[in-house]
Amino acid sequence: MSGVLRDAVWAALDTVLDPELDEPITSLEFVTSCTVSEDPDGSGAVAVVRLRLPTFFCSPNFSWLMVADAHDAVSAVPGITRVDVALEDHFVSEVINQGVAARAGFVAAFPGEAVAELDDLRATFFRKAALAGQERVARPLVNSGMGPDELAALRLGQVPPSQDLDRLRARRAEVGLPCGDDAPLLLHPEGEPVTAAQVPLHLRRARLTGVSIEANGGTCRDLLAKRYAATS
């Protein structure tokens, strides 16, 4: 039974993103271990997940989001009755692990150092991902000769299906931006439409944001590989 459940737990972890890098913690190899076993008291199944990050000093805010999201995602798996998610080898891992387990909230876990929960931070990064995603979807269209007027008028339903398009819709949905077939492909970060005259600058900005996300993801992977070279 635990094989099927373990797969379900892993699939749940697949949905947890590093919001800064816009990638799942699974493909980033932030999940060190994931096991499911019968609860010794016979009442159900326990999921034990261990997480790791590229450096000892990775930002506590993003670290918190990943641990808390992993905790929530795994808790929601049918059949899992107890969850033990913990971050290891980090300068505030104890505070994060205890805070998440106690469902204390970020501010309560870091009194005096944090004054707000992290929903806005997460939204900021989903917005960046939604901006970068537009350029990825638009690039093949631009390469095939589509000009600013057509791009400004283009709706999501008119774009050929692709993974990039699915991802763009998902990120928009997260922050409440229009993501249906009649939504414009090009939108400013706060949701206003992009005019034909604004298209060149908009796509450049979108690409710059994408380069930033991509470069960070690369560096994080490299640092993680060096940090855990001996064990992985």
Binding site: T55, F57, S59, F106, L201, L208, E214, A215, N216, R227
Partner: protein, 360 residues
């Protein structure tokens, strides 16, 4: 001076360290932080070519002789700027203080500039110390490390009133170069700690000063580029940009350079090796050999010309620090070469009414 294919390059390395992170310098009870810090640096170190890696013992502290070998004998550097970072929260005598960096300046007075350091949270006492240091060392620049931990504080912003006051006083002393670490930080915990809005405000308020943003705001290159394109006194410091990417992720490096050339332009990009995180030798040689890939994906990024490499590797910093450049390494006077567009991103912003001078 570095010579390649008949071209002569004057090399100014604007971002170096000479730190002490050995266990005998760790603050009792905070060993995990002191060790965590240098381990974290060592992770970055390993992103350079394997043959350039040091062992941990040298990495924690090296000698003046090592410095001479790595920087001047082998590293092609003509003039080096050492930046001072204190981190006394977990290093007893500090990480690389002005005093420690002065060991290098005293050994090579013609080739080394040491920048001072202040922190507005240290108030008048801190300022008096800075003034005394300046009297002794005649600073041409300061390094401000806004993410430093002091007491309960985990950092500050450069546009806070106390910091602006310090900037004003710094300007009054005739010091015009301000290097800011805008790279990986951890505070404030609940915000995006990499945000560089504060530099934007300071650069607007102190147009006579130069703000060199080290690590180009990584991991927020996009925010940095928007700021730099609108503030003509903001510079891109390539420390970490070359070190962490040119060898480890060449394609990403090309994209980052492409974006910097597009938005910031070759006149405001300056080379820094971040020694001892990485040695300058492979960075200098690699960058001068480097060119934008020919693939389609890079086709609309500006190319990097020999003249641009000369500026980035030394001439731009020489201007900031009034360093005399030998005639053979200088570029022809402006106006004698074809007038090419060096910063296309600015054009786009002007079109959209967003550039400096146009309606913001």
């Amino acid at each position: 001076m570095y010579e390649k294919d008949g071209e002569k390059y004057f090399i100014v390395d604007e971002h170096q360290h000479f730190w002490n992170a050995r266990p005998d310098n760790w603050v009792e009870g905070r060993e995990n932080l002191a060790k965590g810090w240098i381990d974290c640096f060592y992770g970055y170190h390993q992103l350079g070519p394997p043959e350039t890696h040091w062992d941990m013992e040298k990495y924690q502290r090296w000698t003046v002789d090592d410095y001479k070998h790595d920087v001047f004998d082998e590293g092609h550097v003509d003039v080096a700027v050492l930046q001072s970072t204190y981190l006394k929260y977990w290093y007893k005598e500090g990480f690389n203080t002005v005093e420690r960096n002065r060991q290098i300046a005293d050994a090579f007075p013609e080739k080394v500039i040491v920048n001072g350091r202040w922190d507005p949270r240290e108030g008048e006492e801190g300022w008096r110390q800075f003034e005394a240091d300046h009297k002794k060392y005649n600073f041409k620049g300061v390094k401000v490390y806004t993410a430093e931990w002091i007491g309960d504080s985990r950092g500050y912003k450069i546009d806070q009133p106390e910091a602006r006051d310090f900037l004003k006083r710094t300007q009054d002393l005739g010091i015009k170069n301000v290097h800011l670490h805008k790279g990986p930080t951890i505070w404030p915990l609940d915000k995006d700690a990499f945000n560089i809005e504060d530099v934007d405000h300071a650069a607007t308020d102190f147009p006579e000063m130069n703000f060199i943003v080290e690590h180009v705001g990584l991991p927020r290159i996009e925010d940095f580029c928007y700021t730099a394109v609108q503030e003509p006194n903001v510079y891109a410091g390539l420390s970490v940009v070359i070190g962490a990417h040119m060898y480890a992720r060449p394609k990403f490096f090309a994209k980052v350079m492409g974006e910097l050339l597009f938005w910031v332009g070759e006149d405001r990009i300056v080379f820094g090796s971040d020694y001892g995180i990485w040695e300058p030798k492979w960075q200098v040689e690699g960058f001068i050999d480097w060119q934008m890939p020919d693939d389609e994906a890079f086709s609309d990024y500006p190319r990097l010309t020999t003249a641009a490499k000369k500026k980035i590797m030394g001439l731009n910093s020489a201007k900031l620090y009034d360093i005399e450049v030998p005639a053979e390494c200088q570029l022809p006077a402006p106006g004698t070469t074809a007038d090419e567009q060096k910063q296309p991103g600015e054009e786009l912003l002007i079109d959209a009414g967003l550039a400096a001078g146009s309606q913001a």
